[in-house]
Structures are given as C-alpha cells and as structure tokens.
C-alpha cells in the first residue's frame, strides 16, 4: 500500500470523514487517494482558512479536525492556524506535503522546514521518512492531539513517502513512553479543596476553557449549586456555565463584566477549573493573587504555578476531578445555604451594574445589537467570533445560555478566525444554526471563505458589526495615544452586501434593531450563507476596560 493510501485508510480508521484543504505539487499523491476515498473534501481558497475550519470543527466535535496543505507556502500558510489551535488547546491534525526525501535540505522548489518552523506551536510533529511508518504516525498523531490537553499535531509527509509502496499494519493502540495524558486526580487534594471552599467566606468559581474542552458542564453546575458559589469565567470559559443562571457573573478580564471583575477582586478563595490565569483574564499576576487562596484544577501539570501561586492543586481531567468533587459533596451531604452575606453582596453588585452601567447611546449601540441577536437566535446555536471590539462586545452583551456553544480565538487573538471556524463548526454540527459575530476588519482577512460556505453547503451567518475601521486599535489610539489615529480607517470598502452576492451568498444591510431581528430570521429560514451588514458607531469604545499592565480593581467604567 502506498504511503498516501495508508494515510487515507488511517484517517478513516480514526473516524475522520471530512478534510479541509488545498492541493499542490507536493501533496498530489495524497489528493489522488482522497479522490478514491469516502472522505469529504472541502476546498478552501487559502490554506489558513483550512486550518481554522479544522480548528472550529475540532472544538465543536471535540475530536481532531483535519486539514491538508502542500509544501512550502502551503505549509507556512497554516502556521497561523496551528498557533491558534495551540494557544486555545484545540485538537487538530495538519497534514502537509513535503519535497521528496532526497531533496530535503537542498532548498528545493516549494521546500520549507515546516517541522522547524512549527516546533514551538505544535503539540507534536511527525515527519515519516518511509511509507511503512505512516499508519503508526497517524495513530499516534490522533492519540496525542485528542488526549490530555488537546492541541495541534503536524504530519509532514515527503512526496516519495506518499508514493512509495510498503507492507503496512494498522495498529489498534499505540504507546508513547514520554507521554502520560491520563493523570488520576488526587482525592485527598479534592477533599482539601472542599474544606478550603467551605472555610472561606467569599468563594468564587473561575471556569476556564478546560471546562468546555472536557465537557464538564453538569458537574460544574452541580458544584456551584450545592455550595452556592458564584461563577465567573475566563473569556475562553465563556458559556461553560449558563449565563442566565442566578449564580452566573460572566467573564472576568480586560473586557470582563463589571460585576465579575468586582466580585473576583473581593473574593477570598477561588476554585479555578481549567484556567491558565492568562494576563488578559487576571490583569497583573501579583495583584490578582494578593489575599486570594487559589485552588487550581488543570489537566496540564505545567500550568500549576506558572502564573499564580497555588494553594491546592488538582492535576487531572476537569470533568473527572469535578465529578469526584460532586460525589464527595453528595456523599457527605454537604450543602451551603444561599442566604449568606456573600451571595447577597454578589447579587447586589450584579444588580447595581445592571441598573447603573451606562451603555452607548447610539441607536445601534453594541449592547442593543447583540441583545437583539440573542433574542432571535435559538439558544442551542453555535456562535464563533472574529477578533476585535465586536468580540469583546460579544463577551459583554451576548449571553451564552446553552453551555459549550461559544467559541473564539481567545489565546492567540487571530483575526480572520471566526468565519472559517464557523464553517468548520457547521460541518461538525449541520443541525444547528452557526453564527460568526464579526467585525469587518477581521472578516476581511478570510472573507473568501464565502465561496466555501456557499458551494459546500455549509451555510453560516456572518453577523457583521461594521464600524468601517479597525475598531480596537482605534480605541487604543483614542485611549493611550492621544487620538493620533493611524492605520485604522477601512473607508467602507468593500460593500459587504455586494460582496456576499458576488459569491452567491445572501447580503442584507440592517440599519435598525428591528431590521437586525428580521435579517437574522430571514437568514435562519433561508439556510444559505448570509452576511448581515450592520453599520455601527465607529466612536463606540468597549467598556469596562482593564488597561494592560493594571489589575482588575483598576477597571475603567463608562462615564
């Protein structure tokens, strides 16, 4: 069997039934086998989008999404997608073609050292040098990518390895002696964690992306409800806990909810689940951990103590750890009443900001626009975002009701991620509506994926908050650079309705809250790719704002 054929068989054995990619000279043998296989191919217009689609597919289905690219520029074009997946612990398999083994190192046409280039941004990378290695490499790649803390794995296959015939066997199991993803949570530490939470007066749960990756929604909710502890999330953990729940305060951080930041600062003990305490979430590390007892649960031992001093650490899968905690609480009949001073304070704080937080007065202020979207969009819909102001407004004003339906490039902050990721999400979940909450600056970067959304019957809705500028940069220039505005004006180009139509998609311009509601309903009913272009106020800032290098207590509120 040829190396390329082995790859296809191995992919099928792993349950991969869809591949996002673009062919080129060095991966044509792979494409020739793809032609003969039952795996669905989604032809992208730029390899970066293929990697984001695989990423979106992986996050939603919680199994690795697969993308293909050729050697050289094909491979370097997916680097951003790989780095994005790594930063957000997303399972992905990237298969690149490489020049033939004899040509490696000779600066051949379309040769790039993608193994070297990708090293700091992959969970692991393979370069099989014989066709016989391919089945085991694929098996190991899926194993590494999807277990423990998930991440991207690269398989770089020289063209002759794709073509060469070899006797192969497909292993049903692989072992890697330096890789131990399964760590049983330490029960004694979980007991100590419960004691610490019960002994604290002002506990908070901080839910991170790990809760979503491990699907620990029910466990998290049980613990919050049994112990009556308010839940804040990181931005990546947004929607790990229903945001309409009475204990929910929403995301903390640079553009966190005012009530979440306020309560986080006042708390004396935090149960952090699958969070890496990023600077965007916690502000300055020293200030965050002052007067705070930190219980840290994470699947990755290297996260313990990386950014914060931890008092109790539980290493292991979040779902497994939380499940043990729930069992203990039930067995010991531990419950906490909801009528304590802390919860009273939490509720008052939430109510205060709901009543008094000033929202932008423009008729198409971000809060009004996004709350309208929430109102008309079914709760099980999947939402992705681009990167920029609209993303932070989504964090602030778009409540996630159904856990695990909100995805964003939170770690790397990759502009252009949301739209292709939404297409990947739609491929994983064709049964639910998928919406990309977008800004036009970010959408610009991968808008040519409209062709894919239309032609491959993966209709998603691009909900475009159009402020004709790179809004977040503009906000920083207004705030930190004395209004010296440079490099931000996109001058209302292109016309997004015409752009959508030129791809055969539906383009709707919505200029009032009422029109927005109707446009979304039209898009939901029509089931074709739709861009809803919403002209918003270019002067609107994202507030509250915790300036970089400051702490959550220094949050700037709208004046």
């Amino acid at each position: 069997m040829s190396g390329a054929r082995s790859l296809m068989v191995a992919l099928e054995k792993e349950g991969a039934n869809i591949v996002f990619g673009l062919p080129g000279g060095a991966n044509l043998p792979i494409y020739d086998e793809l032609y003969k296989s039952n795996i669905r191919h989604i032809l992208v217009r730029h390899e970066q989008s293929a990697s984001h689609m695989a990423d979106g597919f992986g996050r939603v289905s919680r199994r690795p999404g697969v993308c293909f690219a050729t050697s050289g520029p094909g491979a370097t074009n997916i680097v951003t997608g790989i780095a994005t997946a790594q930063a957000d612990s997303s399972p992905m398999i990237a298969v690149t073609g490489q020049v033939p083994t004899k040509m490696i190192g000779r600066d051949a046409f379309q040769e790039s050292d993608i193994i070297g280039i990708s090293n700091p941004i992959v969970k692991y990378a393979f370069q099989p040098m014989t066709a016989a290695e391919v089945p085991e490499v694929v098996k190991k790649a899926f194993y590494i990518s999807s277990t423990g803390r998930p991440g991207p794995v690269l398989i770089d296959i020289p063209k002759d390895v794709q073509q060469n015939e070899a006797e192969v066997t497909f292993p049903s199991e692989v072992k890697i002696r330096g890789y131990h993803p399964w760590i049983d949570p330490d029960i004694k530490e979980i007991e100590r964690a419960i004691d610490m939470l019960l002994a604290s007066e002002k506990p908070v749960i901080l839910a991170g992306g790990g809760v979503i990756i491990s699907g620990a929604f029910a466990e998290l909710q049980s613990i919050a409800e049994l112990l009556m502890i308010p839940v804040v999330t990181t931005f990546k953990g947004k929607g790990s806990f229903p945001e309409n729940h009475p204990l929910s305060l929403g995301p903390i951080g640079m553009h966190g909810h005012a009530e979440a930041n306020k309560i986080m600062v006042e708390a004396d003990c935090v149960l952090a689940c699958g969070s890496r305490f990023s600077d965007r979430s916690v502000g300055t590390f020293e200030e965050f951990e002052r007067n705070l007892k930190i219980i840290h649960m994470d699947v990755d031992p290297a996260e313990i103590g990386k950014n914060q001093t931890t008092h109790i650490a539980v290493v292991g899968d979040i779902k497994a750890s939380l499940r043990i905690m729930v069992k203990m609480l039930i067995q010991k009949a531990i419950k906490r009443a909801g009528d304590n001073p802390w919860l009273k304070r939490v509720n008052e704080t939430r109510e205060y900001f709901r009543q008094n937080l000033k929202l932008h007065s423009h008729p198409l202020g971000a809060a009004k626009v996004l709350r309208k979207l929430r109102e008309v969009l079914p709760s099980q819909s999947i939402v992705t975002t681009e990167v920029g102001q609209h993303q932070m407004w989504a964090s602030l004003f778009f409540d996630v009701i159904h856990p695990g339906t909100f995805f964003s490039s939170t770690g790397l902050g990759t502009m252009g991620w949301g739209f292709p990721a939404a297409i990947g999400a739609k491929a994983a979940r064709p049964d639910v509506p998928v919406v990309d909450i977008a800004g036009e600056g970010s959408f610009n970067m991968t808008e040519n994926s409209l062709a894919v959304s239309v032609l491959d019957d993966l209709p998603v809705i691009v909900f475009l908050l159009n402020n004709f500028s790179l809004g977040m940069v503009a906000q920083w220039q207004r705030t930190f650079y004395d209004r010296r505005m440079i490099g931000i004006d996109l001058k209302n180009c292109p016309d997004y309705v015409k752009l959508a139509e030129s791809y055969g998609a539906q383009g709707i311009r919505a200029q009032s809250i009422d029109e927005i509601g109707k446009a979304v309903q039209t898009a939901l009913k029509s089931n074709i790719a739709t861009v809803i272009d919403i002209p918003i106020d270019p002067q609107e800032d994202v507030l509250p704002f915790v300036a970089p290098g400051t702490s959550l207590k220094d949050m700037i509120l709208p004046s």
């Binding site: 090293n119 969970k123 290297a302």
Partner: protein
C-alpha cells in the same frame, strides 16, 4: 545559583533542537548542555545546567516533563550526585620555567598535560566547577589563550536506572 537537570530523551533527530528551543521560547537560560547516548541506544541523556530561581526552575522541569520526547526529567541534588566537566585550556608559555610550574599545578589538580610547545601548553582538567575555577584562577597569570569546555555531565549516586 545554578542547578543541574538530567533529562533522559528519545535518541532521535530533532530532540536536542526541541529542548533548546523550549529554553529559548520561554526565555530560560542554558549555562551548559551535554548530550550523549546511554547504555540503551534508544535513549540519550542530556545534562543541562541553568541559573534560575526556584519558581522558574519548577517551570523548566514541568515544561521539559511535558515534552513528549522526554522520558525522565530529574533535578539533581549536588550532594547526591557526581558531576564533572571536562575543560581544555591552552595556556601561554612566556619563559621555559612556566612549563614546569604549570605541569606541577596540573599534577596537583590531577590534570593531563598535552601539546607542550615553546609558546603554549594544553591542559586537560576534569573536575567540578569549583575546582576548575580554582585552577583557572591559578593559571590566569600565565595568560589563557583558548578554552573549550564540554559542559556538565552528571549522574545520581547509588543504584538507579530502571529504564
């Protein structure tokens, strides 16, 4: 303060690159590194010395442990380990009596003397960093022309090796 980390890794291409790239990308410092194949040809042992505070050292160990190509990562306790470095020093000879003096010093430090010439002499010293520094201090006056060092090599005392 430097620490010695002993890392057992898969003996295959690219692993040294990955380890050093980890140090570079996370802004850790490598003071010395020595690599060689072990009694089992599937593994290599890397001995890395680094100056880092306790918190950073902790992270280095964890990040190394997280690497899939590392099989075992150990922070060595100086008191419970044998650690040595081999240094070749080319020392300037100005007058004939220098040769005798340097040879005497070398004997005192159990060094080997090589390539004795009118203008230079090469001394090979295998010792702990303290002793190497002491020797270097003593011969500095003659003029050190060139130095090559292997980096630290270390093993834990007693019976180990279950791999």
């Amino acid at each position: 303060m430097w620490s010695i980390i002993s890392v057992l890794v898969e003996n295959k291409p690219g692993v040294l690159f990955k380890v050093t790239n980890l140090f570079r990308s996370r802004n850790y410092n490598i003071d010395s590194i020595s690599v060689g194949i072990t009694e089992n040809p599937e593994f290599s042992r890397m001995t890395i010395t680094t100056s880092a505070d306790e918190k950073q050292l902790n992270q280095i160990i964890k990040q190394l442990d997280k690497m899939i190509d590392t099989v075992e990562v150990k922070l060595l306790d100086e008191k419970k380990s044998i650690y040595r470095e081999l240094v070749l020093m080319k020392i300037k000879i100005t007058k004939p009596s220098d040769i005798m003096e340097i040879t005497d010093l070398s004997n005192a430090f159990k060094c080997n003397v090589h390539d004795v010439r009118k203008s230079s002499i090469i001394v090979e010293i295998t010792a702990t960093p303290d002793r190497i520094n002491a020797f270097e201090d003593l011969v500095k006056g003659y003029g050190i022309l060139e130095i090559a060092r292997t980096g630290m090599c270390a093993l834990e005392r007693g019976v180990g090796n279950e791999s």
